[in-house]
C-alpha cells in the first residue's frame, strides 16, 4: 500500500517509515503542509497519516483542504494532544480515525485496515496464490470457492506469511507481530495460530511447513 506520512519530527518519522517499509509498504514522507500538498497532488495514496502540530500550520487545515478538494483518501490523524479536547473536532473535520502517540504499530495497522475496510470506494487488495484468494483488508480467505472469515490474529499471521512465500519466519518474529508486548504469554502460543491456519488451508495447494528450530514458511507447491 502507498502511505503518505506527514510528520515534522524527523526521528519519529524515520522510525515510522522504517517500520512501515518493514511490512512491505511504500511510504512518502512530508515534513509540512506545503510538502504534503505537493505530494498529494502529484500522486494518489491509499492512506494518509497526518500529524496535527506542524511547523507551517495546523494539521487540521490540511485536513480541511484535503476534504474540500474532494479526495477520498482516508486520513488517520497522529495526535500527541490530549484526547479530551481534540477528538471531536478531528472527526468533525473529516479524519477517518486517529491514534494517539506513542502508538503500538500493531494498533496503527489495525486502524489502517479498519479505515480501509470502511472506505467502500477503496481498491480491494486481493492477494492470489495458486488456488488461494486472500483479502488482508476484509480478512476473507477463499479456498476452492469456499469463503472463510479469518480472525484477526490468523489474518495477520497469514498476511505475513503470504507476502513472502517460501521465506522462513522465526517463531519470535511471528510472535512479535501477533502479540502486544505486555501479553505475558510464551512464544509457543504461536503454535495454536499456526495450527488454525493449517486447518483453513487444508483443502488448498498452499500449506505451512514447520522447520524445526528455524521457524515456519508458506509452501505453495502442494498440488504440484
Amino acid at each position: 500500500m502507498k502511505f503518505l506520512l506527514i510528520e515534522d519530527n524527523q526521528e519519529l518519522a524515520g522510525a515510522v517509515v522504517s517500520r512501515l517499509q518493514l511490512d512491505g509498504h511504500v511510504v512518502s514522507h512530508a515534513n509540512g503542509i506545503a510538502e504534503a500538498n505537493s505530494y498529494s497532488q502529484a500522486e494518489d495514496f491509499d492512506l494518509i497519516l497526518l500529524d496535527i502540530m506542524l511547523p507551517d500550520g495546523d494539521g487540521r487545515d490540511f485536513l480541511q483542504q484535503h476534504r474540500a478538494s474532494e479526495k477520498h483518501t482516508p486520513v488517520i490523524v497522529l495526535t500527541a494532544r490530549s484526547e479530551v479536547s481534540d477528538r471531536v473536532t478531528l472527526l468533525d473535520l473529516g479524519a477517518d480515525d486517529y491514534i494517539t502517540k506513542p502508538f503500538d504499530h500493531a494498533e496503527l495497522q489495525a486502524r489502517c485496515r479498519a479505515v480501509m475496510r470502511r472506505k467502500s470506494g477503496a481498491a480491494q487488495t486481493v492477494i492470489r496464490l495458486r488456488d488461494l484468494q486472500f483479502d488482508p483488508v476484509s480478512g476473507q480467505l477463499v479456498v476452492n470457492g469456499i469463503t472463510t472469515a479469518l480472525r484477526n490474529r490468523e489474518l495477520r499471521l497469514l498476511e505475513l506469511l503470504i507476502n513472502e512465500p517460501g521465506k522462513i519466519f522465526s517463531k519470535q518474529k511471528l510472535f512479535d507481530r501477533l502479540f502486544s508486548y505486555d501479553d505475558d504469554v510464551s512464544e509457543n502460543a504461536i503454535e495454536v495460530y499456526i495450527a488454525r491456519l493449517r486447518k483453513h488451508l487444508e483443502k488448498s495447494c498452499v500449506s505451512i511447513t514447520t522447520l524445526r528450530g528455524l521457524g515456519y514458511k508458506l509452501d505453495d507447491d502442494q498440488c504440484d
Binding site: N9, E11, L12, A15, V16, S18, R19, L22, M53, A80, R81, S82, E83, V84, S85, R87, V88, D97, T100, K101, P102, F103, D104, H105, A106, E107, A110, R111, R113, A114, R151, N152, R153, S170, Q172, K173, D176, S180, Y181, D182, D183
Partner: protein, 457 residues
C-alpha cells in the same frame, strides 16, 4: 449550573432598599396621621368655639335693664344652636359683676377674667371635660354701671366623636397611602435591581467557555462592577487558555519523544535475535507504554478537572456516543480477537459534557480490553431505566475484594491518586466524571468472574 450554596450571602440589596423605603414611608405616614389629627382637632375646636361664642353673644344681647333690674329674655336658639348629634350637655351661668343671677353656680369664671373680651378655656366641670366661653357686656341704666358676664360651657362628646371619625378616616387614608407606597417601593426597588438581575441572567445563561466581556449598557453605579467583572473574566479566560495550552503543549512535548523511542525500539526488536536484548527491548516498550499511558491519563485528568469545574451542559445521546466509541475501539479489540458486543437502548439522553463522558467511558472500555483474555467478549449495555447508565461486563479475572475497597478508597481521595498509574487513574477519571454529572460509578464482580462496571447518571 451556578452553585449558590457556596456564595456568602449577606442581606439583599433589593430588600434593603425596599425596607428603607417602607420604613421611611411608615414614619412619614405616622407623622402625616398625627398632623391630620392635630389639624382636625384645631378646626373642630374652632368650630365649637364659634358656636359657643354665638350662643353667648345672643344671650348677652337679650339682657335688658327693666325697673332697675336685669331682665333677660334669652332666645330659645341660644341653647338649641348648641344641640349636637351626640347630645352634648351644656352649662351656663349669668353673673352681674360677681353675683350669680342665674344658671349653674359652680360654673365659675376664671380668676384672671377682667370683665372684657371673650375668653375660651378647657376645664373639667362635673367631672367632665368641657369647653367654656366667657363674654361680658357693660350694662347701663343701673344706678352704677355693672358688667353682665355670661359663660356657657359644653361637653366635648361630639368633638371627640368627630375627632374619632376623622382619625378613622385619616387612618384609612394614611393606610391606603401606605399600601400604595409599599407597592410603589416594591416596584421601585425591583426596577432598581432589574439591571443587576439582567446582568446576572446574561452572565448565568452563558456557556462555561463564554468569557467575553459584558458589553450591554448598564447603569453608572454598576459600571465599576461590570468593569471588574470583565477584567476578571479576561484574566480567567487567559488563565484557562494558558492551562489548556499548557496541557496540550505538555502532552505534545512528552508524547512525541516517547513515540520516537517506542517506534525505534519496535524496529530494533525486529532486527535483534538475541533473547537477552529482546527482553530488554520489550521491557523498554512496556515502560514507554506505561509512561505514555500515565502521562496521558494525568493530563486527561487535569483537563477533566478543568472542565468539570464549569460543566458544559448539552444534550447527549448516550447510545450514539457509545456506538461511536465502540467503533473506534474495535480495531484495538481485534488485536486480541476480543469481541465488543453493544446492546444499546435507542435514545438514551442525558445532559452533560460529551467530551468528559466519552473520556470516562473510553477509560472504562480501555480497562476492560486490558484485562480481558484473548478471544473473549466484552458486553456493553446502554440503559435508559431506571437511570441512564452504561454497564460494561468483561470476562477477565474481575476485581479482588481487597482491591475493590482500595479503589473505593481512592475515589474518596479524588485527585490525590497521582501516585498511581493505569487502571486506577482511569477509574478515578470515570468516577470524577460521574460525580460532576451527579451520577455514580459502581464496581462489582460477575458471578462467573468478570468485572462489571456501571456508570450511571
Amino acid at each position: 449550573m451556578t452553585d449558590t450554596s457556596v456564595t456568602n450571602i449577606s442581606g439583599s440589596l433589593r430588600r434593603r432598599l425596599a425596607i428603607t423605603l417602607i420604613v421611611g414611608i411608615c414614619i412619614f405616614a405616622v407623622l402625616l396621621f398625627f398632623i391630620i389629627r392635630l389639624y382636625a382637632a384645631q378646626i373642630a375646636q374652632q368650630s365649637q368655639d364659634s358656636i359657643l361664642s354665638a350662643s353667648v353673644t345672643s344671650m348677652l344681647d337679650a339682657a335688658k335693664v327693666r325697673d332697675g333690674q336685669v331682665a333677660m329674655d334669652i332666645p330659645y336658639s341660644s341653647f338649641s344652636m348648641l344641640a349636637t348629634p351626640q347630645d352634648d350637655r351644656i352649662f351656663y351661668a349669668i353673673y352681674q359683676d360677681d353675683q350669680l343671677l342665674s344658671g349653674y353656680e359652680s360654673l365659675t369664671l376664671p380668676e384672671t377674667y377682667n370683665n372684657t373680651g371673650t375668653v375660651f378655656r378647657s376645664i373639667d366641670f362635673m367631672d367632665t371635660p368641657v369647653r367654656q366661653v366667657i363674654a361680658s357686656r357693660t350694662l347701663s341704666g343701673l344706678t352704677t354701671p355693672a358688667a353682665l358676664i355670661v359663660t356657657v360651657a359644653q361637653t366635648q362628646d361630639n368633638l371627640s366623636v368627630t375627632l374619632r371619625d376623622i382619625a378613622k378616616n385619616a387612618a384609612m387614608i394614611v393606610l391606603g397611602f401606605f399600601l400604595l407606597a409599599v407597592v410603589f417601593s416594591a416596584w421601585a426597588s425591583s426596577t432598581t435591581i432589574a439591571p443587576l438581575n439582567r446582568l446576572t441572567q446574561s452572565v448565568t445563561r452563558r456557556g462555561p467557555k463564554d468569557l467575553r466581556p459584558v458589553t450591554r449598557p448598564v447603569p453608572a453605579e454598576m459600571a465599576p462592577l461590570v468593569s471588574s467583572l470583565n477584567h476578571l473574566m479576561q484574566r480567567l479566560d487567559d488563565s484557562l487558555n494558558q492551562s489548556e495550552q499548557f496541557i496540550t503543549e505538555a502532552a505534545h512535548r512528552v508524547r512525541t519523544p516517547i513515540a520516537t523511542v517506542r517506534s525505534h525500539a519496535e524496529i530494533t526488536l525486529q532486527r535483534v535475535d538475541k533473547e537477552e536484548n529482546r527482553q530488554a527491548l520489550k521491557a523498554m516498550i512496556r515502560a514507554t507504554d506505561e509512561t505514555s499511558r500515565a502521562a496521558g491519563q494525568l493530563l486527561d485528568h487535569a483537563m477533566i478537572s478543568l472542565r468539570a469545574s464549569q460543566l458544559n451542559s448539552e444534550p447527549i445521546d448516550l447510545s450514539e456516543l457509545i456506538q461511536e466509541l465502540v467503533r473506534s475501539l474495535t480495531p484495538v479489540a481485534d488485536l486480541k480477537d476480543i469481541e465488543i458486543r453493544l446492546d444499546a437502548a435507542p435514545d438514551v439522553r442525558i445532559h452533560g459534557d460529551s467530551i468528559l463522558v466519552q473520556n470516562a467511558v473510553r477509560n472504562l472500555i480501555d480497562n476492560a480490553l486490558k484485562y480481558s483474555p484473548t478471544e473473549s467478549t466484552i458486553n456493553i449495555q446502554v440503559r435508559a431505566n431506571p437511570k441512564p447508565s452504561i454497564v460494561i461486563n468483561d470476562q477477565g479475572d474481575g476485581f479482588f475484594h481487597d482491591e475493590k475497597d482500595k479503589l473505593t478508597d481512592r475515589f474518596s481521595r479524588g485527585r490525590n491518586s497521582t501516585g498511581t498509574i493505569g487502571s486506577g487513574l482511569g477509574l478515578t477519571i470515570a468516577n470524577d466524571v460521574a460525580k460532576a454529572h451527579s451520577g455514580s460509578l459502581r464496581i462489582t464482580n460477575n458471578h462467573n468472574g468478570g468485572a462489571c462496571v456501571t456508570l450511571s447518571f
